[in-house]
């Protein structure tokens, strides 16, 4: 079983469009959306939710005003500026370290377990799909991402699937690292702009750090062919295979509006390009 992750560094370069296409083209697979913060893949896969599970993670401090003597030891100890002047904990700022509860001489602070979001196992016409929704303003520590990946891996094993196709989050922090560590291949999607290249390079460095092989796809390559050439040179110098160049095409926009993978709507050379990318991903 091979795990294939689609990432980009910069957001909005076309991760989810490519993941949707790979999900439609790959045989015998399970899909996972590891962008638990702003999940979008479900908009293309039209899932029927079969299981929903709350995700418990970390804790938040709660001060009991009846016991609180307003001595201020909690707010003095808190490094996260989470205790207000009238001794109420701001759950958005609280990182759950529990130091306030330990230093409170009145025993007025308790740590309450936190529901950080939900995760789902769904059925789609392309196969099983594991996805999640992080609660608003919650910590995206990578734990929910790890949960989604692990569940997708277990389903893939039980169904003897050949591939797990993973839509990754933007950035290079916790959730990206949790998505990246241990996958068989990372497909980086970039576009011909200086900022997208800048970000793609940082993701290449990250993948190197975790010893994950990478391949690169340029989306909307014809927006600026000169910059696309620079990307080709960058790939050559870093020995990263450039496995596809997707043109700017209304059909891509229309497929997103219709809520389906682009390969369902594309034909001719556009569809050929996605098939070529899939062949390069699997080889």
């Amino acid at each position: 079983m091979k795990q294939i992750l689609v990432i980009s560094g910069k957001g909005g370069t076309g991760k989810t469009v490519l993941t949707g296409a790979l999900a439609a083209l790959a045989p015998n697979k399970v899909m996972a959306d590891c962008d638990v913060d702003a999940a979008n893949l479900y908009l293309l896969l039209n899932p029927s939710i079969r299981e929903k599970h709350p995700f418990q993670s970390g804790a938040s401090a709660v001060i009991d005003p009846a016991l609180c003597s307003r001595c201020g030891q909690c707010s003095a100890a808190c490094r996260f500026d989470a205790v207000s002047r009238d001794f109420v904990v701001n759950p958005i700022a609280c990182e759950g370290c529990g130091l306030c509860a330990r230093v409170c001489p009145a025993g007025a602070v308790t740590m309450k377990e936190n529901t950080a979001g939900d995760w789902f196992v769904s059925e789609t016409r392309y196969g099983p799909f594991v996805h999640a929704k992080l609660g608003l303003a919650e910590e995206n520590s990578g734990k929910l991402v790890a949960k989604v990946r692990e569940t997708a891996g277990e389903i893939a094993e039980s169904k003897a699937a050949d591939y797990v196709i993973i839509d990754g989050p933007p950035g290079i922090g916790c959730p990206v690292i949790a998505s990246l560590s241990g996958v068989d291949l990372a497909v980086i999607v970039t576009e011909p702009s200086l900022s997208a290249i800048h970000d793609a390079e940082r993701v290449m460095d990250l993948a190197k750090h975790f010893e994950v092989p990478v391949k690169l796809v340029v989306n909307k390559w014809d927006i600026n062919p000169a910059v696309t050439e620079d990307i080709q040179k960058l790939c050559d110098s870093r020995h990263v295979p450039l496995i596809g160049q997707i043109p700017f095409d209304r059909v891509v926009v229309e497929s997103v509006l219709a809520g389906e993978p682009v390969t369902e709507r594309a034909d001719g050379s556009l569809k050929e390009e996605f098939i070529k990318i899939w062949e390069a991903v699997r080889s």
Partner: protein
């Protein structure tokens, strides 16, 4: 006044809006809080005057005093410490720098030292004072670095914050404390889906907000009606324009070659100032 520029979905044009707004205003601060992938400098091209390491506080064990009682391990909510006979192991990627181990060690055998997680650069261009945070590749925790970038906010001036995408801790850390939040979206199903999440988040934080629609279609009445019926304040529409896309791809802020937008961004700022004045 602190104005943050955020979005649920990445790549909708946060940096475009933040940089062009800063250039339209001139005398202001621009702080790039997207420390995982900072991009404002690609467009602003400020002269960088200073680089400083960004650090977090982490425990260091004094083996002269430590008796391996295990208290530090027990109080660490993040399991960043392991205590074995004769040895204390520390896992820096798991540490949140809460200070519990240092404060609660019965033998005062822990002192805190600095660990570098990234870099803060400061510079300027055309009256704009620029600050950016850059997280080192392989580091996991953006929020401490974002807080350090924000500690450079000057009082009594206009500070524009380019926030990271999403609605979780990095975005919230950047946006928290703003007087106003500009949410940038694009009129696609992905963009609108994530705009809703972002609106709910800034509402939860109690921050007044307005929306800039980027890559808007000329005749897109659907978006306009939608904003109206859902009472979402629409601040500005930037059209889907090949010229803007080309300028973006080579890292040129579009208000230079398209000066009509200078006035539009100034009007946007005026609207925001008036909203902030009347907000509690």
């Amino acid at each position: 006044m602190i104005i943050s520029v955020a979005s649920g979905k990445g790549g909708t044009g946060k940096t475009t809006v933040a940089v062009n707004l800063a250039l339209a205003l001139g005398d202001c601060q621009l702080l790039d809080c997207d420390v995982e992938e900072p991009n404002a400098q690609v467009f602003l091209k400020a002269d960088i005057r200073a680089r400083e390491p960004a650090t977090v506080r982490v425990p260091e064990i004094d083996y002269q005093k430590c008796d391996f009682c295990g208290k530090c391990r027990d109080v660490c909510a993040y399991h960043a410490l392991a205590v074995l006979p004769g040895k204390v192991l520390f896992f820096p990627q798991m540490c949140h720098s809460c200070g519990a181990c240092e404060m609660l060690c019965p033998r005062k055998a822990i002192r805190e030292t600095d660990r570098t997680i990234g870099e803060i650069e400061t510079g300027d261009r055309e009256g704009i004072r620029f600050v950016q945070g850059k997280l080192n590749v392989g580091e996991t925790m953006a929020p401490p670095l974002i807080r350090q970038v924000k500690s450079r906010i000057e009082p009594n001036s206009v500070a524009i914050l380019d926030a990271p995408p999403g609605t979780s801790c990095p975005m919230v850390t950047a946006v928290r404390g703003s007087d106003f939040c500009i949410l940038v979206t694009e009129p696609t199903p992905f963009g609108m889906n994530d705009l809703h999440l972002a609106i709910d988040t800034v509402k939860k934080l109690g921050i007044p907000y307005g929306v800039v629609v980027n890559r808007a279609e000329a005749d897109d009445l659907k978006t306009r009606d939608y904003f109206k019926s859902n009472r979402i304040p629409l601040l500005l529409k930037i059209p889907l324009d090949r010229k803007i896309a080309e300028l973006y791809s080579i890292g040129t802020p579009f208000i230079g070659p398209m000066p009509e937008y200078r006035e539009k961004f100034r009007a946007l700022f005026k609207t925001i100032s008036e909203t902030v004045k009347v907000s509690p």
